[in-house]
């Protein structure tokens, strides 16, 4: 119990405590302490809505239901009520008032783990961003409306946004649904990960073009990440120490209270006697000091360090955009001391050379199949579409992203995945990268990424194979509603 902490700080503790009682709470301590994980807030609001209005049902009938990669059911229906999948079966009856949609192939909506759709450009590249800067604050559910519509029609229902790409640490990533345009419903998580970049070419400024970051700058950027992780870890440790001390202290106080209460009359008499004595001697009475009076000092709240602490403790992943082999090697070296850090590399153009270490450390790589030309001399110079296939072959977890630069690119995520399959990536791995594996890496596998009971009803209904060129998305069900219907 931390609730007594702020009030019982000083001496008259015994008496005062008994008089006042110990019910007040310390808002600062409970809210700001790093170990307390923020619960997703939209659960509560969704339930509230449900209480007020009649349940909303959507029944989706599939000739072929892709439950998860490699697991399919034929002629199966999925019932979604108030945004959750509540039943899956062969012969489900549509509840009264249910919207019924039907299609050839049904699967979980695609997740773009590296998108810029709806992200304000200034926030996306904000130089002044810090660990506690939230991408969700730079995102507008109303921006890029026609691009959002196109992305939905391509089957992408959920996107991960990151900000501060030109800052050392770009802040907290946001996971949003692009189906509903309502802010609260759209935001799934506002603290998906901490994002950072290493070695990215910067805008050339007045003279245009790109300005490469030199090797010393790059190494410095990696060092800075390591230092930040270190300060996050010590922040976390100092809070942990404080919390264990405060527990002990509270226990000591409780014991003292009990002791004093037991001998309350005696203590009161002793105190009155002491006051009398002091008066007789013409001295000022001093409250007796107990050793329990020394309250452990609460560390200063630091929002940036609180985020770094969560990263150091592995509560949220660290997503670093890095491309060169030396940078990736440097990052792996830098996090060696932080065993719980969950590293995700975004880009990873030259990650092949580090594949073994990446697999060993369990690092996920978000591949950006950029289709760039070879006539460039920056961090993408050696880009190759075989990257994803070769990494996966080596046991590295692979995701596929649209690069987090162009809002419009999210629409082409399924075709980019198809391109990677054409260059050696296993089909199921590619499909998993768009669905369940992305959900896992972003810590939302309990809600998204596959068609299972209890998960969010984020489904797409397609005319054929999800990665085929001619496939059309007929329906998209997001946040419990049908948000896309066939165009013609």
């Amino acid at each position: 119990m931390r609730i007594v902490a702020s009030r019982l700080a000083t001496a008259g503790l015994a008496m005062a405590a008994l008089a006042v009682g110990s019910t007040s709470a310390s808002a600062a301590a409970t809210e700001m302490s790093p170990p307390a994980t923020a619960a997703p807030q939209d659960d509560a609001s969704a339930d509230e809505v449900a209480e007020e209005s009649a349940p909303v049902h959507v029944l989706v009938k599939a000739s072929r239901l892709i439950v998860r990669p490699g697991e399919e059911l034929e002629n199966t229906s999925v019932l979604i009520t108030d945004g959750r999948i509540i039943s899956i079966g062969a012969e489900l009856e549509a509840p009264e008032g249910a919207t019924v949609v039907e299609g050839a192939v049904v699967c979980a909506g695609f997740i773009d783990p590296w998108s810029a759709l709806g992200m304000e450009e200034a926030s996306r590249v904000d130089r002044g961003a810090g660990p506690a800067t939230k991408a969700s604050d730079g995102w507008s559910p109303y921006a890029d409306e026609h691009l959002r519509e196109e992305a939905l029609r391509a089957g992408v229902t959920t996107i991960h946004l990151q900000g501060g790409s030109t800052a050392a640490l770009g802040g907290l990533g946001a996971l949003v649904r692009i189906g509903p345009s309502l802010g609260d419903e759209a935001l799934v998580l506002s603290d998906v990960c901490l994002s950072a970049t290493v070695g990215l070419s910067a805008d050339g400024g007045f003279w245009g073009g790109v300005r490469a970051v030199d090797p010393f700058d790059r190494m410095q950027q990696i060092d800075r990440i390591a230092q930040n992780l270190g300060s996050g870890q010590s922040y976390s440790e100092s809070w942990a120490k404080y919390e264990s001390e405060i527990v002990e202290w509270e226990k000591a106080i409780a014991e003292k209270e009990e002791e004093l209460e037991k001998d309350f009359k005696k203590a009161k008499k002793d105190r009155e006697k002491d006051i009398e004595k002091a008066e007789e001697k013409g001295k000022e009475y001093k409250e007796k000091r107990y050793k329990e009076d020394r309250k452990p000092r609460r560390p200063k709240v630091d929002r940036d360090k609180a985020v770094l602490a969560r990263v150091a403790n592995g509560e949220i992943p660290l997503v670093v955009e890095a491309h060169r082999a030396s940078e990736i090697r440097g990052l792996l070296d830098a996090i060696e001391a932080f065993k719980r850090v969950r590293l995700v590399i975004a880009g990873g153009t030259e990650a092949k050379s580090q594949a073994e270490r990446l697999a060993e450390r369990g690092v996920t790589v978000i591949v950006w199949p950029a289709l760039l030309g070879s006539s460039r001399y920056d961090e993408y110079e050696t880009h190759d579409l075989s990257l994803a296939g070769e990494l996966a072959e080596a046991g590295v977890k692979v995701l596929i992203g649209s690069g987090g630069r162009e809002a419009a690119a999210t629409r082409d995520l399924p075709l980019l995945a198809a391109s990677l399959v054409g260059h050696g990536l296993d089909r199921d791995v590619a499909f998993g990268a768009l669905t369940i594996d992305a959900a896992r890496a972003l810590d939302v596998a309990d809600r998204l990424g596959s068609v299972e009971l209890g998960k969010d009803g984020e489904l797409i209904v397609l005319t054929g194979d999800p990665l085929a060129s001619a496939t059309r998305v007929q329906y998209v069900i997001s946040a419990g509603r049908v948000v896309v219907t066939p165009e013609d």
Partner: protein
Amino acid sequence: MILSTIVTASLALTGAFEGPATEGAPLPAPTPTAEESVLQPISVERAVAFKAKRVFFGDGNHVDDGIVLVQDGVIHSVGADVAVPEGVAIVELDGMLSPGLIASHSYEGLGAEHADSTRPTMPEADIAMAFQPHHVDFAKTLAAGVTSVVLAPSSATLIPGTTAVVKTSGGKVVRRPAQLQVVLSNDALNWNSFPTSHAGAMAELDRLFSEPTGQIARATSGNLPVLLSADDRSDISRAVSFAGRYRLRGAIYGSMWAEDLIDQIAKSGLGVVCNPFDVGEDSRGMRAVVGLAKRGVRLGFGLDAPNRDPENLRFGAALCIRGGLDSKLALKAMCSDAASIAGVERRIGRLERGLDADMVLWSGDPTELTSSVVAVYVDGTLVHGGGE
């Protein structure tokens, strides 16, 4: 080196291709075509029959379990019921065969040599002079299943020169000059030197085309197709009327804004070479292609490698298919349509009797991005992949 390949190529063009005389089993009742003269009776030693699960002819049609019979780098016969003379080697291919893809506008291996801004009009400048057949760019393009590209001069001047069709392996120039390029977009205008305006540019073009000489005369007499670069709708309108005025045949390069002008383009008889499609491309570009294809306009896809990954060619086609383009037409645009726009339809672009045996073996349908290039053959020779 370049010179000799050019000579061979032009000989082949004029139908003077000669191989050593052979005796062998004659082909049963061959259907006569225009290219008959280049064909020799089948020789057991020199002919090879390729069998594939599906053979795409490149003109929008295909046949399952097809055979392509090749001799001396030239296709002898294609179909499901090709009689392979006894003794001819048969290669069983696990996959689908298509003609080698053709990029209708590209810059591989040209380095800085495709841009000359010293004069606004250089109709005699031949881009084939800048062609470096062994440049590393071509290997990547070849690996993407593209066996021929239309090399184009940079569209930074009014008439930057003529294009050339070259193969991405072996250094053959299929045709040069292939098209006379005329730039009707803002790219040709300068702020401080002639021409500074569209009106001025058009006046200069009218001056040159009303008393034509050299390549311009070949264009106005219908012997050389044109490639009219256009960025926006007014460029396209100007291109259509310019082509009509001088009875030019050929194509417009630049499809992005064509959606509103489909009718005019279809009536003009011009083909359209699409700008390369990038990831996240504006959907108006795809709508234009779908609309043009519906009206039967010949289409080609630009690539502009090495500034883009050669995979952009098929990616652009896939984007258009997602937008509603029939996948058969998408493949046709990368094969026979591209060849006919560049004036090389009697050499490449289809798997047909008498044409070069430039073929790609795919793991599946070439218009699916999930399909990969298994092997590439140029002039009947395996030049990429095919191992194991």
